[in-house]
Amino acid sequence: MPKQSKNLTSSKDPSIDLDAEFRNTNIQEVLDKLDRELIGLIPVKTRIRETASLLLVDRVRKQLGLSAGAPSLHMCFTGNPGTGKTTVALRMAEILHRLGYVREGHLVSVTRDDLVGQYIGHTAPKTKEVIKKAMGGVLFIDEAYYLYKPENERDYGAESIEILLQTMENNRDDLVVILAGYKDRMDKFFHSNPGMRSRVAHHIDFPDYGADELVSIAKLMLESQNYCFSKAGEEAFGKYIRLRMKSGHFANARSVRNALDRARLRQANRLFSGTKKSLSKNDLITLEAEDILASRVFLEGSPDNKPKTKKTD
């Protein structure tokens, strides 16, 4: 530990080994995991790295008695569905925990239903209960813009926002709030709730994935399920993704997951109805081109089953 000093103009300036401090928190481990498990998302990763270094420097400064006040850590994640907002929030909770900014490091993921009550006097206890559960960790509010419904002035969402704002201000040491949702709707939400806007310091935008990134994501997903593409299968999937991206309701990684589930279904069907009676392990784990080319996307340019509602991640 470096020597403590409160004197800014001290002649013998205590030096601090930032690297050692960095290693002590094991932050690199989490960042590496983030790199490994999340494909692409370069701007997001850069922001997380920046935030992590800010918190680290802040911590070191605190050891020297240079306090700058507890940093506001409330965040807003905006992006299209399936761009990894929940996954990043989970990692964020871990990073904040390693740096000692939250005590427990758990993530409580909620939506409007969990916060807003159904009758007068129901909202406040409901919101407070969720907040109490999230204390010591991260409160992740998915589709946060639904909290505010301007078209209905008797909506209870406003009450919930009020309580949230109060907690975000008064209990900054106890919990970190992350709001998530589509970019344009979140912008509108912040526009009509200036109090919320000023309390959220970090806005992180999640870009859409490119076709190649989606193929790598697919490979990663298959790997975790003990499947793999054949060479032709991978090419076919690349083609599939490019077509799928053009059709409506495309939900990035979530669409990929659904496509893979359907491909697994077709593969099972193919193996079952196939003439080959003895199957090798290789047959069981390989998705062939025909499993993917059978998709309706190739026939009429629409996915097998259209999702009814849009969802964010």
Partner: protein, 144 residues
């Protein structure tokens, strides 16, 4: 032999110790949370030892991870009832146990008048004894 120095009501855990600080309460809450016990906050203005069922302040709290939320609730209860007895109860819901495993007072009235001894003469010169709290002479909510 233990002596009751301040002439205060001693029931539950830690009642012979000086009042717990918020930090000490947090540590106790943390222990309860670590064991997965649900925590409730209760208050009363009747200090009789046989008064087991106190009023509940808010809902019992399940699935919490951190004591900060409970401490918040304790403090809001103290604000609402500054001159009541307030206790924290941890409930263990494990099958076969299903009962409070921890209970301690976190707030008490500034002045506790104590108890008097009441004698009742029965048949054949027999006397039965009971205690009576001076505080309960006044109606509810005006006691302290």
């Amino acid at each position: 032999m233990m002596t009751n120095q301040g002439n205060i009501v001693t029931q539950g855990q830690f009642s012979f110790l000086p009042p717990l600080t918020d930090k000490q309460i947090s540590a106790q809450l943390k222990y309860a949370l670590k064991n997965g016990w649900a925590i409730g906050i209760e208050y009363t203005d009747d200090p009789h030892p046989r008064n087991t069922y106190w009023e509940m302040f808010g809902n019992p709290m399940f699935d919490l991870k951190d004591p900060a939320g409970i401490l918040l609730e304790i403090n809001s209860c103290r604000k609402t009832f500054p001159n009541h007895y307030i206790r924290v109860t941890a409930f263990n819901s494990t099958r076969g146990v299903e009962s409070p495993t921890m209970s301690y007072i976190v707030n008490r009235p500034k002045k506790e008048p104590g108890f008097s001894l009441v004698r009742q003469e029965g048949a054949g010169r027999s006397v039965s004894y009971t205690i009576h709290s001076y505080a309960t002479d006044k109606p509810e909510a005006e006691r302290y």
